[in-house]
Symmetry: C2
């Protein structure tokens, strides 16, 4: 697919556009790149450039058809059907993220990423549920991931076991990982890893306190 070569920076903005479209869809049929950009916090020229990667969505002088663009962006992002996700590491952060995500999923009908399985080594948690999501031992990743058709995962385990957790998830068939452990994972194969490292994010933000 041609999509493969599109940069992460472009992909990163698509969910922002999707959120704006959802916000305006009951109020208007079309939206200009100016309005879409203003609401998403992106320059209008960049909006046009981003969307041009995927086809001719806009009409000169009219803008984009809201519903059509919404459908197209959902297809591009694979959000047009449910995606099953797992979370490994139900410590304090994992627990909070699981609940936060589950609440979001229940409240937002267009949020299609469903948390279906949790993993933790704690024997008090294994076999229990959190918000009715079952908790398994990480040894069961190889069996549970294909069984439950899990395609994405969040890693919230301690740093020293993050690498083996990532490899186990990848070998079981997970295609995209959001890693909260403060280490760079080296995952074989065609698996996309995004680091949600709070420390890195804060260090990056620190740049702006002096500008």
């Amino acid at each position: 697919m041609a999509w493969k070569r599109i940069s992460d920076a472009v992909i990163r903005r698509l969910p922002l556009y999707l959120r704006v479209l959802e916000e305006v869809k009951d109020k208007q049929i079309s939206i200009s790149s100016q309005e879409l950009g203003d609401m998403a916090g992106v320059r209008p020229a960049l909006v046009r450039k981003d969307l041009a990667w995927f086809g001719e969505f806009g009409k000169q002088g009219v803008g984009y058809d809201v519903e059509f663009l919404q459908d197209e962006l959902r297809k591009i992002l694979h959000l047009d059907e449910p995606i099953h996700m797992a979370l490994v590491g139900v410590g304090s952060l994992g627990h909070a993220l699981a609940r936060y995500h589950h609440r979001r999923f229940m409240e937002d009908p267009i949020f299609t990423i469903k948390l279906v399985a949790l993993f933790d080594v704690n024997p008090n948690l294994v076999g229990a549920t959190l918000d009715s999501i079952p908790i398994f031992h990480p040894d069961e990743i190889a069996a549970v991931v294909p069984d439950m058709d899990v395609q994405m995962a969040i890693i919230t385990v301690p740093s020293d076991v993050a690498q083996e957790t990532g490899v186990a998830l990848a070998q079981a068939g997970v295609k995209a990982i959001l890693n909260f452990a403060p280490v760079n994972l080296e995952i074989p194969g065609n698996v996309h890893v995004a680091n949600a490292d709070l420390s890195l994010e804060l260090q990056r933000l620190a740049y702006y306190i002096g500008t």
Copy 2:
């Protein structure tokens, strides 16, 4: 400052380089852009381009002096001296992030961003402490932020109060905000807002399950 015009994408990679330098500093005096890039997950040409924004750090055939580059990057990111941070919204996510951050801060001597104040409307929390960090009512933001010299903040309040929280922090003098609420904040003045929206991050990641 010339730095102002440097893109977010460049700034985003600097903490990655800093982490690599910290990792190798006891083992080697200099590092090539190839090695730095490999360890940070960035193309070597991009490493050289990124660092060239800030001056002539490298020497042809020798690479970068590890300690010198570390010092320079810390200065650029304002990580050469302590930064005080606040967190508003001590719910389940805020609580987990506060503990996660505090543990990181205590364990990592080069992590200079210190969480000094928490805010929450819950009367059971106001006046108490979490890991010995005091919890205030959000009404006290205007007083506490300048008093404690708070320059950065994390927002983990519910969506419907995120905007007013951001404005209160900005008016009190906060310069950079990491926002976990799933809304776009409109903050007046020269305040940098980064969205750490888990839902957006997952929607973006979903792109890669089909590639």
